[in-house]
């Protein structure tokens, strides 16, 4: 079936550096999402994105976070600068529509901030 790919699967960086997490969504999908899961805790919604704009974001989506999908390429989550509390697994998802449409999830990127 359709797959959402996340690259890389694991990223290790030093605190204060910039990091970009990449998501290759399902090809005809229009809505894109990022979720964050701190180890041992529940997965939490960060942001959703449609037509080049952030449609909705949670309080976890700090000012240091940004998302974009330039010209149909990867859907990216950029964190600049990173902080220790950004260490988590980040999940990307996409859907064709947002009204009761199934979300397809990637397997996650583990970000370790040292």
């Amino acid at each position: 079936g359709p797959k959402v790919l996340q690259i890389p699967s694991h990223q290790i960086i030093d605190m204060g550096q910039m990091v970009t997490l990449n998501c290759d969504p399902v090809s005809n999908h229009l809505y894109f999402y990022w979720y964050k899961q701190i180890l041992g805790q529940q997965m939490e919604f960060l942001v959703n994105f449609y037509n080049g704009k952030v449609m909705e974001k949670s309080k976890l989506f700090k000012d240091q976070f940004s998302v974009e999908r330039p010209d149909g390429s990867y859907f990216t989550l950029k964190i600049q600068p990173t902080a220790l509390e950004d260490s988590a697994v980040y999940f990307c998802a996409s859907s064709f529509d947002r009204s009761n449409e199934r979300l397809f999830f990637g397997h996650g990127t583990k970000l370790s901030v040292l």
Binding site: Q41, Q42, M43, F45, N100, E101, K110
Partner: protein
């Protein structure tokens, strides 16, 4: 085959009735989460279980890590319970593998 098999794919309930959703896992999983997708597409986390059962209002979830399945029971269904429900299994050290979802419709 799929590592997380979720059933049923669609379910219709009348208000006030009860039912259960189920996820079977083909490999050992450390934890399971249940989500409901809202009308804007965002996921609401309902339960996180490493074992046993949890209850929240009219919802109750159980996870049997030995028999490799989890259930989500909905009691006294209400119209606002309509939506798509997902389970997700923890694989390896951090990855989540999602089920295919159950589209629940609650009718008056």
């Amino acid at each position: 085959g799929d590592q997380v098999e979720q059933s049923p794919s669609a379910l219709s309930l009348h208000e006030g009735t009860s039912s259960a959703l189920r996820c079977n896992f083909t490999t050992t999983t450390r934890s399971v989460q249940w989500f409901r997708q809202n009308s804007r597409g965002s996921l609401i986390n309902l339960f996180y279980l490493a074992s046993g059962t949890k209850e929240n209002g009219r919802l109750k979830s159980a996870f049997d890590s030995k028999e490799l399945y989890s259930t989500l029971h909905i009691r006294d269904a209400q119209l606002e319970d309509s939506g798509t429900y997902f389970c997700a299994a923890e694989e390896g050290s951090w990855q989540l593998i999602f089920g295919s979802g159950t589209q629940l419709t609650v009718m008056p």
